[in-house]
Every structure is written in structure tokens, then in C-alpha cells.
Symmetry: C2
Subunit: 301 residues, 2 copies
């Protein structure tokens, strides 16, 4: 019996890189290390894949889910690169070309997408969105981002979604100006982990479960979900990210979502519609593996 | 040479029905009449299609773009019907079954979708969105609705979008409570033609071009577009509907959109991105013809 094809996956975050080799959740070996300058970081990733190739055999394709903004459209001359970013050294970095170079494999098939698109794809292959064609993966962490699947495909016309930079209705009397350097009070400016830290002048993880912070947070997230539902009518809304680790938050979001819908849209109960991810922190890197295996299958057919 | 296949289209509005027979913009014959109770209305539509069948031959398929909410998912047991609506007599009305019955054609292929999805599809086939796979058609009239195309398909998971009922950020100091009976100050509640009428206590068409009303209106529409762009990154945003007939409004929306984006998303110039529909008032019924011809082609292949 021939060995199953192996794939490589990278969750390329702004603070850490997670690399994995395998075929899925059951057999992936992973490594994680801090994100430094592009050259050193991509070389460290390549060292891992080379070592694993020696043990288990070469990978057939590589999937990368990166922090953004990133040029993910294969028709773009900038394809495979990081776009304008405040992260030192990374603006214009050629991630796809750099990985192929560091691996000495100029022809390696590489799927290049955002970290949140990869996470969404991972949840669709092996997680809570298994078999679904219409859903959203929203991550509420230091920033806010999302991957959108509609009609079984990742959504994005001339670029990738930036769902965190949508404008939302403020909670009446909320005096916080918002912390987004571009927009002030967009969703990320009002509801990201960073906004919680600045608004309440503390590590948000230290705020008690009954603190008013969580009611306000839940209303902002609920409004973002209402807007996503009005546009996409998805089958599931998956809420990930560090801020969602607060166990009181998901039930609060569901309650506020129900109130703000006001019985208008005929939806399934909020408990079924708005859910936690199933793959947790592994969604991104496993999604990168899933993107690689899809690319490989398409290349063979 | 055989005659080209003919298709029927219905733009089924809440105040008027528009019916057409033909193959496209160049040869469609149309009729329009007021929407009465379901039985009389569907019978009047059927009379038109029968008369045209006598002159030009039978239609191969029928497309219907209806006011909503409507059960457009073929997997739903309610498929083909109008859902909960305040319009007297229409709640639960079986539009697809009723048309087949009135035409005495139980096997006629019928495509059933919303009026705004049909209009979007019409603009994609013959209008300003020709050849585009990712765009939004937004209509700002008495109410606000939209059709969303992503990856070349109409978007909608468990139902059709209701883009007018999204929540948006209020203009600072705007004292108007909004007129949506469900949500108060959702987009439709703050920016529909009906909201303009109530807010300014007059027919909005009588408001001068330099009236502050249009600046506020442009900001609300711009914010809706920002949110749609953050989710979908479309290639075009098409703005139709009676309120957009005000010639000063489209340039104002583009200006506000540019300000609210604050150079964050790397987009094409607002003049190319945010455009008027090309088919105008014919988009809906021509889109219904396009839906019918697509259905017919799928049925044959």
C-alpha cells in the first residue's frame, strides 16, 4: 500500500509562525516559533519541512495562511507578498517565493491565503462547519478578522475581506473613541482585544465576568454578526480568537444578536447559529494543510 | 434556421407587476399592471404570456423576481411562496405553483428569486456588471434591498440577503429615530425613501440638491457600502432605486465612501467602483429573463 500524500501548512502570524506536516488533525506534527524578519523566519520554517521530509518523505504541496494584508489573488503581479503593514521588514515580503527558495523547490505548489481564510477552511474540512457552503469564521483577538465562505468558496473579489474594519452602530452613551489608527470607531476599533485593553486600562482577561465591559463587547460583536447575516444568510457564524476565551461572552453575544434581530430574519436558534470553533487554536495551520491538499487535488485533475 | 428559444420574465413588485417575453433587451415585449390580490394578479400575468405565445410561440422557461420575503430555496417545503408580509392577501401565496396553474403548464421550468437578485443578474448579463463575478446591486427606494454576487453566484445560505436591515453607525447628532417597524434605525430605517419622507416631512423629491438631507443620506449609504466592501471586496457596487434618481446623490456617496475608507482598503477609484445601473428600471424584468434562460440551459445540459 502506498503512503498517503503529505502536505505542509503554515499559519503565518504576526507574532508566531506555526508549521505542520501531515494529512489532517490525526497525524500532523507541528512546530511553532516567533516571527522575526522575513528571511530568518522563512528559513526556520523551511528547516522544519526539510527535517520532516527526511523522516516522513517530501510534501506534495504547501498551504500558507498569513497575517495581512496580503496579495492572495493569483492574477496580481504582487501575488504571494505581504502588502502595506506596520510590521517592520515585512512590507512587500515575498512569502511564496521566499518559501520556495528556502526549500530549493521552485515548482512546489503553494496555496497562499489569509490566516482567517485558512482557519475558515480548516473548520469546513474538519471542524464545526463540516459540509457547509455558507458560513463565516470571525476571530476576535488583538485585532478582528474573518473568513467568509459563500456557495462553497472563500469570498473576495479584488482582495481578501477585512471584516474587522466595518462601521457599526455605537452603544448609546459609549464615550470610547475607538482605537483603530485608520477609522477610530470601526468594529476593530471598538471591540478588539486591544480596544478592551485601552478602554478599561487593564488586561481584559482580568475583568470580572459580570463587568459591564462584556455587555458592551457582546453588543458590538452581535451587530457585526447581524450585518454579516443580512448580507450572507450563513448557516453558521463561528466565533474564535482570544477575546472569545471568556466563557461568559458567547452566551451574551447570542442574547444580544437575538434582541437586535428583533424577530425579523427567520433564523435558526442562536445556539445553533453562533458557535465556537471546533479546531480551536489549530484551525489556522490545519486549514493551511487543507488548502494545500485542495491545491494538489486540483493540480492532478 | 430555427427560431431562438423564448423566455418569460416577471418582476413581481409590491405595487406593480412587470411581465416580459423575449430573449434579451433587444426583443423583449413588456406589460405592466398594478399588483392586486394573488389570484387576479397571477391570472393577469398568465393572460399576457398566453397572448404572446399565440403571436411568437411558447416560452421555454419562466423567471420570477419577486418582492420579499420569499422562499427561494428549492430545498424548502415553502419554495415558491411569499413569506410573512404585511401586504394583504400575499402571506403564503404560492407564486410558482399559481403561475404554473394559471398557465396550465405544470411542468414549466420556473426560476424563483428576489426582485433585487433578478436585477443583479440582469446587470451581470446585459448591464454594468457584465462578466463580473463579485459585485453588489443595492436599491435605495421606498425600502432598501440588495442582490449580492460572489464567485459568480447569487449569495444566500439559508435564505436571501436583507441588506437593508443591517445596523449602521448614526451620523453624530442625527435626532431621527428611524422608521423601520422592526429595528428603528437600521439602514432602511435611516436611509430609505420612506425615512426621508418622514424625517423631512415632505416628498424627498422636492428637497433642493443642496439640502443637508443629501449629505446625511450619502453618509448612511456610504457606510453600508463600506461594510459590504469589508465583507465581499466586490468589483462593483451598483446603486439603483428611486432615491438614487437625485443626480447630486451618487457623487456625494462616492465622496463620503472615500472619506470613510480613510485609505485603508486598497480599492479602485470610487468613480469606477460605485456606479449607476445600466439597465435602469428594466433590470428586474430582464434579470428574470436571464434567470429563466440560465435555468433552461441547465435543464438541457
Amino acid at each position: 500500500m502506498s503512503r498517503p500524500a503529505l502536505f505542509g501548512g503554515i499559519e503565518a502570524g504576526g507574532t508566531k509562525y506555526v508549521c505542520a506536516v501531515g494529512t489532517g488533525p490525526g497525524d500532523c506534527e507541528e512546530v511553532r516559533f516567533p516571527t522575526r524578519d522575513p528571511d530568518s523566519t522563512l528559513r526556520e520554517a523551511a528547516d522544519f519541512f526539510r527535517a520532516k521530509a527526511g523522516e516522513r518523505g517530501p510534501i506534495e504541496a504547501l498551504g500558507i495562511g498569513t497575517f495581512g494584508p496580503a496579495a492572495i489573488d493569483p492574477r496580481s503581479p504582487e501575488y504571494g507578498r505581504i502588502k502595506a503593514t506596520p510590521k517592520p521588514g515585512w512590507e512587500g515580503a515575498d512569502v511564496v517565493g521566499g518559501m520556495r527558495g528556502a526549500l530549493g523547490a521552485a515548482d512546489l505548489p503553494v496555496a497562499f491565503d489569509t490566516d482567517v481564510n485558512a482557519a475558515a477552511w480548516g473548520e469546513r474540512r474538519w471542524g464545526v462547519a463540516r459540509g457547509l457552503d455558507d458560513f463565516v469564521y470571525l476571530t476576535v483577538g488583538t485585532g478582528i478578522g474573518g473568513g467568509v465562505v459563500a456557495g462553497g468558496r472563500l469570498v473576495g473579489g479584488t482582495g481578501h475581506p477585512e471584516v474587522g474594519h466595518r462601521r457599526i452602530a455605537r452603544v448609546e452613551g459609549d464615550p470610547f473613541a475607538g482605537c483603530c489608527p485608520f477609522h477610530g470607531d470601526c468594529l476593530e476599533g471598538l471591540a478588539s482585544g486591544e480596544s478592551l485593553r485601552r478602554r478599561w486600562r487593564c488586561d481584559p482577561r482580568t475583568l470580572p465576568a459580570e463587568h459591564e465591559a462584556w455587555g458592551i463587547e457582546a453588543r458590538y460583536i452581535a451587530d457585526a454578526l447581524i450585518n454579516l447575516v443580512c448580507t450572507l444568510v450563513p448557516e453558521k457564524l463561528i466565533l474564535g480568537g482570544g477575546v472569545m476565551d471568556q466563557p461568559q461572552l458567547l452566551p451574551l453575544v447570542r442574547k444580544r444578536f437575538h434582541e437586535r434581530n428583533a424577530h425579523y430574519l427567520d433564523l435558526r436558534p442562536a445556539e445553533e447559529l453562533i458557535v465556537a470553533p471546533e479546531l480551536g487554536a489549530r484551525a489556522g495551520v490545519l486549514g493551511a494543510i487543507a488548502l494545500a491538499s485542495d491545491l494538489s487535488r486540483r493540480a492532478r485533475s
